[in-house]
């Protein structure tokens, strides 16, 4: 198993453990809001039309680049704070991994912490599209 993949699994387990503490939805959302507030905002320069992923209600911006070590670096942001919290979780899982691992990542943690409805195609928050976009970057950066 690659380092990147090991990292991905490890990070997801951590997240699941963290969420195990929460007794109800409100606590989960409180934590997500906290994560959302902590996520450093994307610089204006990266809030381009190119980087925007339009959900019907909240918008997500996503920027990616390759590190000198060949790993994918993600920065992202959203105009809704709960979406930002979710964005932060996804980034925490996928940042600084190899493009191969990102492109094929199974984000099983989302379901385990009960947030999968937020990633459903019928949600209007742009999150699923963001994850898909991250995987596309994974494919694109492998190719180079």
């Amino acid at each position: 198993m690659s380092d990147s993949n090991q990292l991905l699994q490890q990070r997801q387990e951590e997240i699941v453990e963290e969420f195990a503490f929460f007794e109800d939805w409100m606590e989960k959302y409180e934590y997500l809001i906290e994560l959302g507030k902590e996520l450093s905002p994307l610089e204006e320069a990266d809030r381009t039309d190119e980087n925007i992923i339009r959900g019907c209600q909240s918008r997500v911006w996503l920027a990616a680049k390759k590190s000198p070590e060949g790993l994918l670096e993600f920065r992202a942001d959203s105009d809704a704070i709960i979406t930002r919290g979710l964005v932060a979780l996804v980034i925490r899982a996928l940042d600084q991994l190899s493009p191969e691992v990102v492109s094929g990542a199974d984000l099983w943690f989302v379901q385990r912490i009960g947030l999968d409805t937020h990633l459903s195609p019928t949600r209007a928050n742009g999150l699923l599209a963001m994850v898909q976009q991250m995987k596309h970057y994974g494919i694109a950066f492998q190719a180079r």
């Binding site: 109800d24 939805w25 409100m26 959302y29 409180e30 809001i33 019907c56 209600q57 909240s58 918008r59 105009d79 809704a80 704070i81 709960i82 979406t83 209007a124 928050n125």
Partner: protein, 406 residues
Amino acid sequence: MLNPAHIRSQFPILNREMNGCPLIYLDHAASAQKPVAVIEAQREYLMHLHANVHRGVHSLSQQATDAFEKARETVRRHLNAAHVEEIIWTAGATDAINLVSQSWGRTQIQAGDVILLTRMEHHANIVPWQLLAEERQARIEVVEINENGELNEADFQEKLKLNPKLVALSHVSNAMGTINDVKRWTDAAQAIGARVLIDGCQAVPHMEVDVMALDCDFYVFSGHKTYGPTGIGVLYGKKELLESMPPWRGGGEMIDVVSLEKGTTYAGLPHKFEAGTPHISGAIALGVALDWMSGVGLQSIGDHETTLGAQARHLLAKVDGLRFIGTAEKKTGVVSFIVDGVHPYDIGTLLDPMGIAVRTGHHCNQPLMEHYGIPGTVRASFGAYNTLQEVDALSAGVERAVRMLR
């Protein structure tokens, strides 16, 4: 006065728990819940009466046809239309507006013609006209609104000077609840020779509508917003006008004689506009829904909702940084708002685990949101089945959500 407990007992969905809390359904403007009478009427039809309508020799088909046509008469009575053949079944309000734009519009709108809309129209009353305008090289003009979300009178008068061929406006705004003075605007528009289409989606569920008194040319509404089933709606049109219009959809039922060699002639009203097998069970159940509303009392329903809306505004006004979108003098119970520094989507997301179902976003009203420079609003909208306690829960929920989000 309406007895909420009695009414609520007729809506099975209100017994549901959502996320461990009792469901508080405040999304009536998106779609109404259905009373048992409506659900059972549809079921009963499918259980014991279904057959394809019209032209059948067998009794079942006759009985289904009778029930279907009786529902048309119910709609006529409910809207006070002069003739039953002025009532055209459609798949919904959107379908109805498209019918008018493509049948009437494509024969009547020429290059350079003006179609007048308003800033508060639902996309259903914008996009069909944009498609038409593009095709016919016509021009869309828009009546702007004042800061309360009411039509700007002076602007309306000004825009009428452009001699629009058609004025298409909503009876009630779905995003803000503004009740437009459609009678006055119909008169003014017709005085300069314009046709008038009224989008009544948000009026029929809440008040008495009298198309003969309004004297409008077209009036549309959707069944599912007025306690009826999905997939059915109504186009009312003045008889002579409908008669003069070419068919839109072709198919069975709408024809007189079909010949591959000699061409085809069309049936009379209302069938000319009802190609194909109609949504029989939907039409019948919509008739039951309208009768149910009349049974409760249109005035009582409207009054009740106005009370709920007023109370909601009263309580929500205390939330720091909360701003109402739409503060018209005459409005339905709809309450739309934003909170400084907080995204509407976040509020809606936090209300959900409390069992409170509101709608957030642009409400198919992007031009209005653009006007206010906001990404959307949180909208609570009420039906006959909502209660003051639910309004209390809404306001407490919003307060809690805002506290969490700040």
